[in-house]
Each structure stands twice: as C-alpha cells, then as structure tokens.
C-alpha cells in the first residue's frame, strides 16, 4: 500500500516515515503533502509553551490522558532545540509521556528545531498536517519558550497554552516582555510551590491592563501536573475557549491568517531561493563592488530586483 493511504489509515509506522521524509526534505515530499492536504483541517491544534522545565511535557501527558478518556485520538509533537554547532540534539520530552507510548490512540514524535534559527522548522508545520490527515482529533505541540519558537507557535496552533511557574523571577519579565499576547490560556503549573496565587493575580492584572472591559479574557488556571491537580479544569477551559473562538468565528480568522502566513512564507522562501540561484553570478559581482565601496548594498539589491522584473 502506498504511504499516503497508510497515513490516512492511521498506520503509525507510515506516519513516522512520512514525518522523516518531510524532515529530510526528501524528493517528492511536497507532492505527498499536496495529496494529503485535503484531508487536513479536522484536528484541533494546541500549542504549549513556557520556560524550560516548567512542566510542559508533564501537562501534555496528563491532558492527553483526559482526552483519551473521551476517546479522542491525540498526536503530540515535542520540539527541542538543535545545537547550532553540531546539528545534534537531545530530545527528552518523551520521558514524561512514557505511559502513553503503548496507547493505540496516541502518537508522539520528538523533533529538533534543526535549521530554524530558534523557531519552529518548516517540518514541524508539515508534521502537524500529517498527523491531522492521519485522523488525530487533537494535535499538541510542545515547544520550549526561549526565543522565536514561542512566537512561532501562534502560527501553528489554534489555542496556545502559556505555562508559568511561581517563584521564578523571569515570569514577571515575560509578562512585561509582551509574550502575554500569545496565550489563549495561562497555566500556572507547579502551584504546589509558594507564590502560585500571587502569580495568578499578577497575570490577571496584566491581562486586565491589556484588554478593554467587556472583551474576552484568557482564563488563568492553576495546575500541579505531577499530581493531576487542575488538569480537568484545564481541559474544560480548552473546550470553553474553543467554543468561544468558534462562536465568534475567531478560529476561522485565525486559521485564515495562518494560511496567509504560510503562503507568504512559502512564496518568500521560494522566491529568494530562486533569485539567489538564478543571479548568483551577478550577486557575486555586486559583492565585489560593494566591498570596494563602488556601490552600496541597497543599490545592489535594487539592481537585482530590476533584473528580476
């Protein structure tokens, strides 16, 4: 049977193989993606991000178990940073999800960020599509909240959970740094630790500041992932937020803008690649000129663009 059909049937080995093809940018992967695209769009995608060690994987684990009791199929993509020096990575999120490994209705894939300078790689977006096409009801994407990947997650997920932990000074900074906007739900995990309530108040205050009186406000949920505390509430709130998004057509707006983003970035990537490839000699020549200060880089760009036209 061909790989597309097997993926659509939910065969795990084929799903895994196809994700590898996409990661490796093997020949033909675009054609395959084209063929499965029409089967995507069913799954709800949940992004979960937060500082290293804040309990994201533990939360994913517990959340998935609840989704499983509702008989939902869950795909999980756990992203860890690739070392820019060696290209290697240790992908350790799976450790916290060990008890899901043998569950028929769960698929877990660990991915490195690979070339994507701190953000999420193209392959990660495509892996979501593959899982979607394979019949997952939910797809959860875990990324470490350092740098670009937590901003990228918005482009990938219908709902973003922002995980924070009490007693870490940088939470307040994060709030100030403006990453608050990306959260649809705020999770104060490790609320067995001192300062959980204070953090909740702090988050709520910041949210109040940023929103007008009667607009929708993201919920703030206290959890203890290790003890299963607050997880049911969290999953209920996910449903609530989803409902709200669907009522107000926000989900579609979000997805639309996501598609736009995707087309634009595909365009940019391809165009640039094309230009660089086609005009490589010219570019080399211009570099020399810039180096000699005969022209400046802006003019060099204009020269190339006028050629493209």
């Amino acid at each position: 049977m061909d790989i597309i059909q097997s993926v659509l049937n939910g065969d795990k080995r084929s799903i895994a193989k196809l994700i590898t093809l996409v990661e490796e940018k093997s020949d033909d992967f675009i054609n395959i993606l084209k063929k499965i695209y029409k089967y995507t769009g069913r799954a709800i995608t949940i992004g979960i991000t937060g500082a290293p060690g804040s309990g994201k994987s533990s939360l994913v684990n517990k959340l998935t178990r609840i989704l499983r009791t509702q008989n939902k199929k869950v795909g999980i993509i756990a992203v860890d940073p690739t070392s820019p020096f060696t290209g290697g990575a240790i992908l350790g999120d799976r450790i916290r999800m060990q008890d899901l490994t043998l569950d028929e209705g769960v698929f877990i894939r660990s991915m490195g960020t690979r070339g994507a300078l701190g953000g999420l790689s193209r392959a990660c977006y495509d892996a979501v599509k593959i899982l979607d096409a394979s019949g997952m009801d939910y797809i959860i994407i875990e990324t470490v909240g350092v740098g670009q990947s937590e901003i990228d997650i918005v482009k990938l997920a219908d709902i973003v959970l922002l995980v924070m932990v009490p007693g870490m000074g940088d939470d307040v900074q994060a709030i100030k740094a403006g990453i608050m906007e990306i959260g649809d739900i705020f999770v104060v995990n490790k609320s067995d630790k001192d300062g959980a309530d204070r953090l909740v108040t702090e988050i709520e205050m910041t949210l109040d500041l940023g929103s007008s009186k009667n607009s929708w406000k993201p919920p703030v949920i206290k959890t203890i992932a290790t003890e299963n505390y607050g997880i049911v509430e969290l999953s209920e709130n996910i449903e609530k937020v989803l409902k709200h998004m669907m009522q107000d057509d926000l989900l579609n707006v979000k997805r639309k803008s996501r598609i736009k983003q995707e087309i634009i970035s595909l365009l940019t990537e391809t165009l640039i690649e094309n230009i660089i490839f086609r005009y490589s000699e010219k570019i080399d020549m211009l570099i020399e000129k810039v180096l000699e200060r005969q022209i400046d880089p802006y003019s060099a760009m204009e020269i190339i663009i006028s050629d493209v036209k």
Partner: protein, 132 residues
Amino acid sequence: MSCTKTIRVLIAKPGLDGHDRGAKVIARALRDSGMEVIYTGLRQTPEQIVEAAIQEDVDVIGLSILSGAHNFLFPRVIELLKEKNAQDILVIGGGVIPDEDIPGLKAAGIAEVFTPGTPTSKIIDFIKSHVK
C-alpha cells in the same frame, strides 16, 4: 543546510537497573557528533522501546543493561521489531555483557555489542557506517 541525513537514535534502558551513566555519556557523545538522540529513561519494557522507536522513526536503537538481563531483553526487542516489520532499525547493545554471550546476541539480531571501555568514537563510527 547539509544534505546528509540527520541520524536519529533511541537510547533506552530496558529492565530494572538504574545505572544510566553509560547511557547518558553515549547520548551526549552522539548528540555532539550531530545526531538526534531520544533518551527514554529507566525501566522501559521491550514493548515500550519498540513502539517509541517506530513512532520516532529512529535509525538506531541503543540498549544498555548492566543487570545481566540482556539475554532475555535484547532478543525480545528484536523479536518485537520483527513483529512490527521494523527490522530495518539497527539495534546495538552495551553494558556488562560477558564475551560468551555476545555470539548468541548477534545471532539474535543485535548488530554489535559494546562492552565497558569502548570509546564513544568507536560507537559513533559504527553507527555512521551502518546507517544507510
């Protein structure tokens, strides 16, 4: 981006022993040689290891055992891979493994057994030359 494939390796400790110094040193060394390493932690059953290897689509499974349970657990992993039609995954083993057990393990399908004192560079070379 380079065009060579990133090698993916699952490092697992089947059985109950908790000595993971070797497994962790190897994991780091493999990472530093440019591989993606999925470390699954202690007390993994062969079933869990094989399922994780399939979902992660790894090229290699590295098994480490120091408790002496290798003669049961290593072949069991191979058996399950075969059941799942995944025998293309290279399986290597390490730990306290007497020489006299090695031929049997290899016959069962373990590609290579690395005993204590093996330099990590040798393991890296082995993986690089055996993963297509």
